[in-house]
């Protein structure tokens, strides 16, 4: 028991707490589209990447402040989401999934190939930790406080949104589109708002990701990451607010014991991804009838 407490207060514990806060923002915002709206949004990691790169570039090359970086990251992601939503949200779910998948593929191709801006696979090193109101966040403990506050604010905003009229009509549209539309719910606008808000929070998470690691490269924003966040939402039961929080804690901490096993790092990465994919498949298999309720039609 004392051993547990030692781990939790050590640097390693702080690192884990920061990861949990980061994934709370990411997963809960994906839950808004995939869970509540049943929109199969595969562009979440692309927004995450856009936010991360925006912050990295602004703070290294223009030494912009924390507020500016976060604001630009969020609004850039929201702008991309509005654009992408305008293209693909007017179509059926299959097309939305393909459209968002294509968007994330374009983003990752740009991250690797647009070398003059993103430095390609080399990534961007030396991203400074932020300073705000005269407090610096170089220390991981301080940084945990910052990201923790933002994670709590995010959860609060999303919780309010879930229970707002907008969230309720999003849920209604997912369950029975025609009935909701006939009651005067604006289909396109509701979904656009959800997608936009979801991506904006992904941008916020991306911003914190680059501040925390001080170094980003395209490999952090691949499909494996998307599978991981999707697994969190599916395990936590799509559309359930508390479920996703629990699943985030569970899944972020689950592969950590693998670290202490004597496995070479070439196997460790694939093994974590394999674990996530197996969990994803297992949960979908187990709960296949109640995960997404069958869309009702007249």
């Amino acid at each position: 028991m004392t051993n547990m407490i030692e781990i939790l207060t050590s640097d390693y514990g702080v690192h884990l707490a920061i990861l949990v806060s980061l994934y709370l923002i990411l997963a809960q915002s994906l839950n808004l589209t995939v869970g509540l709206g049943q929109l199969f949004n595969l562009a979440h990691v692309a927004s995450y990447a856009v936010g991360a790169y925006a912050t990295a570039l602004l703070s290294t090359e223009h030494s912009a402040s924390f507020t500016v970086c976060v604001a630009v990251s969020i609004s850039l992601c929201a702008a991309f989401a509005t654009l992408l939503g305008a293209i693909s949200l007017r179509l059926t779910t299959d097309y939305f999934a393909i459209g968002t998948l294509a968007f994330s593929a374009v983003v990752s191709a740009l991250l690797i190939n647009w070398k003059s801006v993103t430095h390609g696979v080399l990534g961007i090193p030396g991203i400074p930790r932020p300073e705000l109101l005269g407090i610096d966040f170089y220390d991981n403990g301080n940084f945990l406080a910052l990201i923790g506050i933002f994670a709590v604010i995010t959860q609060a905003i999303l919780y309010c949104l879930y229970n707002s009229p907008c969230g309720r009509s999003l849920r209604a549209l997912a369950e029975f589109e025609r009935a909701a539309a006939s009651l005067g719910k604006n289909t396109r606008r509701t979904r656009n708002i959800a997608f936009c808000v979801s991506s904006a929070f992904a941008g916020l998470a991306g911003s914190f990701f680059s501040y925390y690691l001080n170094y980003i490269d395209p490999s952090s924003f691949g499909l494996g990451e998307m599978v991981f966040i999707l697994t969190i939402v599916i395990v936590g039961s799509p559309g359930s607010f508390g479920g996703v929080i629990g699943a985030t804690l569970f899944l972020v901490l689950l592969p950590e014991p693998l670290r202490f096993l004597d496995i070479s790092s070439t196997y460790l990465g694939p093994m974590r991804q394999l674990l996530h994919a197996l969990i994803l498949f297992g949960v979908v298999w187990w709960k296949r009838d109640k995960l997404f309720p069958q869309r009702r039609t007249v």
Binding site: Q38, F40, L84, I87, S88, R90, L91, T92, T93, D94, Y95, A97, I98, G99, L101, A102, F103, A105, V106, A109, L110, I112, N113, L223, G224, V227, L230, I234, T266, Y267, P270, M271, Q273, L274, H276, A277, L278, L280, F281, V284, W285, R288, D289, L291, F292, P293, Q294, R295
Partner: protein, 297 residues
Amino acid sequence: MLSILPQLLVNSLITGSIYALASAGLALTYSLLRILNFAHGHIMMLGAYCFLLFYGQLELSFPTAVLYSTLCMMAVGFVMLRIFILPFVQSSTLLPFITTIALGTILECAVSMIFGVNVRSFPSSASSNSMEVRGVYITPFQCAIVVSALLILGTLAFLVHQTSLGRKVRAIAENRSAAESLGISVTLITYGVCILGTLLGAYAGILVGYETNIQPTMGSSYSIKAFAAMVLGGLGNIWGTVLGAYILGLIENLSIGLDFWGYSLPAGYKDAFAFLVILGVLLLRPHGLFGTRSRAT
């Protein structure tokens, strides 16, 4: 600038042939089950690695390696359909997409743990010296790719449109429950068609291995390209998809081969262009270049 055009067109034909073989199977599966199989590109990758194992590493003779790879991929196709797709088709259209993403990741991780993440290529036995025809360079193997693609797709067209089996397939695509009530063995035909699609995908993967090289992470990029071909041709429209695949090959090659106002794009952007095509089509012609507006399912 225009002198390079014939070469680009030939290259597009070669790339397009591979894409057409890869996406035909995906379109067949979509037309029968209305699901997006994300693992299709990973099936291509697995097919190529299967062949690499039997032919390159165990050094079996070419026909034996082909036979074993075919049997292996048939088994993989069966397992994929039985475990990862069919149990979820009734519940929601999203679920098979999620499970095939999981399957794709599982295959990718398994292959990279067994074979390593490095780029591999096949031991090339075919002569790689290229022929020159009117300033266009092409290797005998590339000719074989184009000819075999035309032969296979031609046979497929004959099967689908001229035989009673093909009529049953089209009937199921049109209306599954009506076809079932008329006594067509829907399950058997679904299995047959999906395993055929798996084999086509695996063949395309082997061609990729001979033409360029293979690595475990290639799967998702080929899946998205096959989706691009499907979106170009209209979801569920098999011949639209095949044509879409050739158009995709053309767009990719022209985008990096031609220079635009003295500025040419680096080769790395080839993929980005293919993916931009999807977004462009969704914006301008959401039901595909050759698609009709969605019909009731």
